[in-house]
Amino acid sequence: MLFSRRLMFGLAMASSLAATLAGALAVPAMAEGPTEIDLFFPVPVDGKLARDMGTLIKEFNDGHPDIKATAVYTGSYDDTLIKTRAAIKAGKPPSAVIMSANFLLDMQIENELTNLDALIKADGTTKEQFLGQFFPALQGNAVINRSVYGVPFHNSTPLLYINADKAKEVGLDPSKPPQTWAELTDWAKKLTKREGDKVTQWGIAIPCAYDYCGWMMETLTMSNGGRYYNEEFGGEVYYDTPSMLGALTWWNDLVYKHKVHAPGATPGPAVSTSFISGNAAMMMLSTGSLTYVRDNAKFNYKVAFIPRNVRNAVPIGGASLIIPAGLEAGKQKAAWTLIKWMTSPEKSAWWSRATGYFAPNMAAYKTPEMVDFLNKNPDAKTAVEQLDVAKPWFATYKTVPVRKNLEDEVMLVLNGKKQPKEALVAAQKAADETLKPYNADTSLKLP
């Protein structure tokens, strides 16, 4: 009797467990109503971007009763790639992702992206018309092998931020910002303050942390007339080249020869904090930080083009909206509706004003709110003007490890552990090793 009671108890527990499991499995099948979609979004820069995203998605849901979108915060750009891949592997891909524009090639190579050509065609428009809405400089990272894989959403270029008050103090004219590396070096020297050997104010700060460092190297290399990678083929990078050596040598000189840039690798938030607190008089940073600077700087500041050594050129940064592969048709369609809504001139303009990123949709700049906003904040124009000289963001097979191959070496240089030449030779060797499987798969049988 005693045992059977215990047995009953055990069986009851087991069956209740089974019932719970069965219940949990049965529920989704019965659900009807709006199509539920997830949007993964990263926050790579300073500011209140996460709150703005909530506002945007609420507005979308209010206007689209048949779709229920949920915004899911996924960390940095790198984290967002990782989380998206994990979700795809687990068979539950998010319906849309704001994905760092330079990861699209890598994802396409791994068959993780939905080709958007069919969705564009179903809307009764052509690829050319669809892409025509966006600044031409952005298409390099969105189109792969002549198919559309991403829709530009918020984009950036690097900018030179100048503390105008401090520039005036030392007799520099902030309305004529430095245009060449030589002039920039000169400005940085004048803006560096010392007490004995100790620096109390740095002339310039350039971020170098994973992700940012590679982008800044691309910026400097492009201004030096070179390029970072092969735009047509995902298996080649150009680290050990004269143009990149010149770029890294100049950066190294700012630190160790002119002593106007703090040694060591500095993350983006530390650079912007340094600038805001007056500890650094100039900085090179994304236009994505513009709203943060505007809201927090207690001094007059000025934004300018990135100075050139050989030519004016900057890489595109920022993110595109993508639809991962393997979604059911209903969700895919709902995600496409969301993407088109988010990249429309009005929404794209609103987002640009909220964050500091520029709006990829050219018509955004014709909306009355945007015209008004630019009149009040002329600093927001600089990034858009710089688009004329913008080029695609580096994108290769295994973009993140290939980028880190370079970043690890650049960090050693900025810490005085290596000279630029040996660092770049090592970076090239490491990157070639990382790219080897792709090269072996595609064109070459490497030794």
């Binding site: 942390a209 500095t266 690890d408």
Partner: protein, 316 residues
């Protein structure tokens, strides 16, 4: 009808020799069935998430991941060889050893110091205990985010105070020579309070009368510590050392938040290396191989520690 009852049942049935063998087995099975049923949920989860995962790792380690154009293929021990030949892995192992020793010794030392100082309960000591224990309650991720601001070069709290004294401001997280030690500071700060709890518990077990007798015999504080307290704390020490070593390998939240293994792999730890291989390089084979090596090392180390404990005290 207590839950512990089934454990004693086999003894009861073996004392009933009249039953023949199958019946006895059936009876035993019937008797212990509820116990097994109660264990079942845990067993299912353990099998699924611990042993199943381990089995999967074992298999994955033998295969090379498919590239977009080449399928998965069996490579045997190649992945293990590749991991052992990877300077990033050997670097991570060295970093991890420095990290383990460098965090275990100071945090255990501090914990013992705290515990000895605060072993008697009165108002001040409980308040201090709570204060020292507080870091344990702060999630590692939150603590790391906090320390990121403390470590900010030039403008951070640390540079603000210490920077005035130093000729050159260190870039705490941006200098490959310093970053690992900067990260170790957080671990020590977090773990000292945790280990203090074990030592406090250990000190409670030191017999009052022995201490009193020693006191009457004229033993000074140092002699009492050396000859009574420390020997009594031996099992606690061994236990805390095992925990500290396991922590050194399993805690990587701060690496994630603060440095991502950088600059230049100077703060890369073994677990973070595994994560990098699996998700950044998308190389499950190599990640599994590194996991197996780590698992083997940890199991060996733990077995060794438990044996030492068993030999010394006849049981932990």
């Amino acid at each position: 009808m207590s839950l512990a009852e089934p454990a004693t049942l086999p003894v009861a049935t073996s004392a009933a020799p009249r039953l023949d063998v199958p019946k006895r087995l059936v009876a035993r099975f019937k008797a212990s069935l509820p116990a097994y049923l109660l264990l079942l949920p845990s067993l299912v989860f353990l099998a699924l998430f611990t042993y199943g995962a381990m089995g999967r790792v074992l298999i994955d380690a033998l295969y090379q991941r498919a590239t977009p154009k080449a399928p998965v293929r069996f490579v045997g021990l190649d992945n293990i060889a590749a991991v052992l030949a990877d300077p990033a892995f050997t670097g991570a192992v060295v970093n991890n050893l420095i990290y383990a020793v460098g965090t275990a010794i100071p945090s255990i030392g501090l914990a013992l110091l705290f515990a000895l100082t605060l072993s008697r309960t009165h108002a001040v000591s409980s308040a201090l205990r709570a204060a020292l224990f507080l870091p344990v309650l702060i999630p590692m991720v939150a603590a790391s985010a906090l320390f990121m601001f403390i470590f900010l070069p030039n403008v951070g709290l640390l540079d603000y105070y210490i920077g005035r004294l130093l000729p050159v401001l260190p870039n705490w997280l941006g200098d490959p020579d310093i970053a690992l030690y900067a990260i170790m500071i957080i671990t020590i700060w977090k773990n000292a309070g945790y280990y203090m709890l074990f030592f406090l518990a250990g000190l409670q077990a030191v017999p009052e009368d022995v201490m009193e007798a020693a006191h009457l015999d004229g033993a000074g504080p140092y002699q009492r510590l050396r000859n009574i307290i420390l020997p009594e704390l031996k099992p606690t020490f061994l236990f805390v050392i095992v925990i500290a070593i396991l922590n050194a390998v399993t805690q990587v939240d701060h690496v994630f938040v603060m440095t991502q293994g950088g600059p230049s792999n100077s703060t890369n730890l073994v677990l973070f290396y595994i994560y990098q291989q699996a998700v950044e390089h998308y190389d499950v084979g190599k990640a599994s191989a590194a996991t197996l090596l780590t698992l083997a090392a940890l199991m060996g180390l733990t077995a060794l520690s438990f044996r030492t404990m068993a030999n010394r005290e006849g049981g932990p």
